[in-house]
C-alpha cells in the first residue's frame, strides 16, 4: 500500500504553507542577498539609487567604524563597533549563562519550592524583550534602579549611576541585563536534563563517598553535554540577533557605544536609508550565524 495516495494528494498538505513561506520568507532572503550586491530584486521600485553592482557594500560595511572601530579597540573605549560589541556580548554572556544555568538547576532540584523559584527566573523569557530592555534600563537607573541600591548598600556608592547612559558602562549593563533575562532558558533546559539522569547513578556515587564537586564534574557535566551544546548554540544565536533590548534601552547609544549588528542594519535602513548597505549588514549577520545554525540543525535532526 502506498502511504498517502497520489503525489499531488500528498503535496496538497504542504502547498498552502509552502506558498506563504516561499513568498514571504524564502524570496525575501534571496532578494536581500541580491540587493546587497546592488542589484534590484523587486521590479518596479528603485531601491538601489543608481549605484553600480558589485561588492562595494560589503567593503563599505566591513571598513566602517560602526562595524569595527579600530580606535576604540586600541584605546579600549566604547564604541568598538557593532561586531565587537556582539562578540563581547557572547564572551560574557555565554560562559555565565552556562555556569549559572547549570548551578541554579542543580540548586533548585534540591530545595523546597525549587519549581517556584525556577518559574520566577523563567519570567524573563516570557515577557516581550522590549519590556526586558526597559526593565534593564529601569534597574540600572541612578535613582530607581535596584542595581544601584545594592551598590550603595555594599559600599560601592561611587559606582552608582545610570549605567545605560554612559559609553563605558552602557554595553555592560545591557549584557548583565540579558543574562538576567536569559538565565531562565538555561536553567529550564538544564533542569529537564538533570531530571533525566537516573537517581541511582548519583546515589551510587554518594555511597561511594563522592563529594559534590566530583559528582558535578564527573557525572552531571558529562551526561548533560548535549544540553550544554543546545544552550551554547541558542545563546550565541540570541546574542547575535539581539535587537529589542538595545532598541528599548539605549538605541545603540550613547554615541554607538552599545550598537549591535541587528541594530546597525536597522540604522542603515531607517536613518541612513541606504537599503543595499542595510542588506549587506543583514547578510553578514546571517553568515555569522550560519555555523551555529548548522550545529543546531545537526542536533535537531540527529538519529534521522
Amino acid at each position: 500500500m502506498k502511504i498517502g495516495g497520489s503525489a499531488l494528494n500528498r503535496f496538497s498538505f504542504l502547498i498552502p504553507g509552502l506558498i506563504l513561506i516561499t513568498i514571504f520568507v524564502v524570496y525575501p532572503i534571496v532578494a536581500t542577498i541580491i540587493l546587497s550586491f546592488n542589484i534590484n530584486p523587486i521590479p518596479g521600485i528603485d531601491i538601489i539609487g543608481g549605484r553600480s553592482s558589485g561588492l562595494e557594500n560589503y567593503y563599505k560595511v566591513l571598513s566602517s567604524p560602526k562595524f569595527i572601530n579600530s580606535y576604540g579597540i586600541k584605546t579600549m573605549t566604547f564604541p568598538m563597533g557593532a561586531i565587537i560589541h556582539n562578540i563581547i556580548w557572547i564572551a560574557l554572556h555565554l560562559p555565565l549563562t552556562i555556569i549559572l544555568g547549570l548551578l541554579l538547576a542543580v540548586l533548585f532540584q534540591h530545595v523546597r519550592g525549587g519549581a517556584i523559584i525556577r518559574s520566577f527566573i523563567f519570567l524573563g523569557m516570557v515577557i516581550p524583550m522590549i519590556v526586558g530592555g526597559l526593565l534593564i534600563q529601569f534597574s540600572f537607573d541612578k535613582d530607581l534602579g535596584v542595581v544601584n541600591l545594592f551598590l550603595k548598600i555594599i559600599g560601592l556608592r561611587w559606582l552608582a549611576k545610570s549605567w545605560t547612559i554612559y559609553p563605558d558602562t552602557a554595553l555592560f549593563s545591557l549584557i548583565l541585563g540579558s543574562i538576567w533575562l536569559w538565565t531562565g532558558f538555561s536553567v529550564t533546559i538544564y533542569s529537564a536534563g538533570l531530571a533525566s539522569i537516573p537517581r541511582e547513578i548519583i546515589e551510587a556515587a554518594i555511597v561511594d563517598g563522592a563529594d559534590f564537586k566530583t559528582i558535578l564534574f564527573k557525572i552531571i557535566v558529562p551526561l548533560l553535554k548535549p544540553v550544554t551544546i543546545t544552550v551554547l548554540a541558542m545563546t550565541i544565536l540570541w546574542d547575535l540577533k539581539i535587537f529589542d533590548i538595545v532598541y528599548a534601552s539605549t538605541q545603540g547609544g550613547p554615541g554607538g557605544a552599545s550598537m549591535v549588528l541587528a541594530l546597525l542594519m536597522y540604522d542603515y535602513f531607517a536613518r541612513v536609508q541606504n537599503y543595499p548597505m542595510a542588506a549587506a549588514v543583514a547578510a553578514i549577520l546571517t553568515v555569522i550565524t550560519l555555523p551555529v545554525v548548522i550545529i543546531w540543525i545537526k542536533i535537531a535532526t540527529k538519529g534521522e
Binding site: L20, I21, I29, I47, H110, I127, L134, F138
Partner: protein, 292 residues
C-alpha cells in the same frame, strides 16, 4: 533508620550534607529567586504609585498611596493610546496564531507521515528558515508590501507573522506527529479513509496538546515581537503595544510612571498566557526558543 532516611532523601542527606547546610542552601535559593524578580516588583510598584513617591526609590514604603493614574494616562495617552495598542496587538496576534498553526499542522503531517521527493531537503530548508534573523527578510518584505498596498496595514503584518511562524510550528508539530502511534491511521486507511479524513478526524483530535502548545507559543511570540511591527506599521492608530512603549519614553527625561504602567500592560498578556497554559507553554518551549 537514620541511614535509611539518608538514602531515601538521597540528595538532602548525601549531596548537600547536614540539615543546617540544607537550610542554608534553601535560604540561598530563595534569596536568589526573590532578587531575580525584584525588577518586576519594582516596575509594578512604580506603576501603582505617584512618581513623587518613588523618585528616590520604589522600595521606600512611606508614603504609600496606590493610584491607577499612571495606567489611565498610559491607556488613554493622546498620542500613543495603549488601549488602542492593546487591541491592535490582539487584532494582529490572533489571526497570526490561527493561520500558521493550521497551515503548519498540515505541512508537519506530510513531513511526519508521507514520503515525497526532496522531502529531506525541504525539511532542512525549513530548519534554516527557523533560524534566519528577521533583518535578513525585512527589506524586500517592506518593498513588496508597499507594492501590494499592504504596508502599514493589519493584513500585511499578519501575513508576515503567519509566514514567519510556519517553519518553527512545522518543525515542532512534525516531531509531535512522529511520536504518535501509526496503527490508528493505518487501520483507518485500510477502512478506506482518505488522507484528509485521517488527518482531521483522527490525527488532529489526538494531537490537540501539541497544537495548543504551538498556538500558545506562536501567540506569545507575535505579541512580544517588536521588529516586524516597527518596520511595517507607522500609524499610531495601528501600532501594537510593544511598538508604542519606546515612544512613551519622552524625549529627554524618561517618564517612568507612564512607562512602568505601559510595561506592566504589555507583559500582562504573555504572563497570563504563560500562567494559564503553563504545561503547554513549557511543552513547546524548545522549538520556540530557537525563534528568539
Amino acid at each position: 533508620m537514620g541511614s535509611r532516611g539518608r538514602s531515601i532523601s538521597g540528595f538532602r542527606g548525601g549531596l548537600l550534607g547536614s540539615p543546617l547546610k540544607w537550610l542554608i542552601i534553601n535560604i540561598i535559593a530563595w534569596v536568589i529567586g526573590v532578587l531575580w524578580i525584584l525588577p518586576f516588583v519594582g516596575i509594578f510598584m512604580t506603576s501603582i504609585r505617584p512618581f513623587s513617591e518613588v523618585v528616590s526609590g520604589w522600595w521606600n514604603p512611606y508614603p504609600f498611596s496606590p493610584t491607577l493614574k499612571n495606567y489611565v494616562e498610559a491607556l488613554f495617552n493622546p498620542m500613543f493610546s495603549l488601549l488602542r495598542g492593546f487591541m491592535n496587538s490582539f487584532i494582529i496576534a490572533i489571526p497570526s496564531t490561527l493561520i500558521p498553526t493550521m497551515l503548519a499542522a498540515l505541512a508537519a503531517y506530510a513531513f511526519a507521515r508521507f514520503s515525497f521527493p526532496i522531502k529531506n531537503y525541504l525539511f532542512v530548508t525549513i530548519l534554516f528558515l527557523m533560524a534566519a534573523p528577521q533583518q535578513m527578510t525585512i527589506i524586500p518584505i517592506f518593498f513588496m508590501l508597499h507594492k501590494m498596498h499592504l504596508l502599514n496595514t493589519y493584513l500585511g503584518l499578519i501575513l508576515i507573522h503567519s509566514s514567519w511562524g510556519i517553519p518553527w510550528i512545522t518543525f515542532f508539530l512534525r516531531n509531535f506527529f512522529s511520536m504518535l502511534p501509526v496503527e490508528l491511521e493505518e487501520a483507518a486507511r485500510v477502512d478506506g479513509a482518505s488522507n484528509r479524513q485521517i488527518f482531521f478526524k483522527i490525527v488532529l483530535p489526538i494531537s490537540l496538546p501539541g497544537i495548543i502548545s504551538a498556538a500558545v507559543l506562536q501567540f506569545a511570540w507575535v505579541w512580544n515581537d517588536f521588529f516586524f511591527a516597527l518596520m511595517l506599521i507607522f500609524d499610531p492608530d495601528k501600532m501594537v503595544i510593544t511598538q508604542m512603549l519606546p515612544r512613551l519614553k519622552g524625549q529627554y527625561q524618561v517618564d517612568w510612571g507612564l512607562l512602568s504602567a505601559g510595561s506592566v500592560l504589555a507583559m500582562m498578556v504573555p504572563l497570563i498566557v504563560y500562567a494559564v497554559f503553563n504545561r503547554y507553554y513549557m511543552g513547546g518551549f524548545r522549538g520556540w526558543a530557537m525563534k528568539r
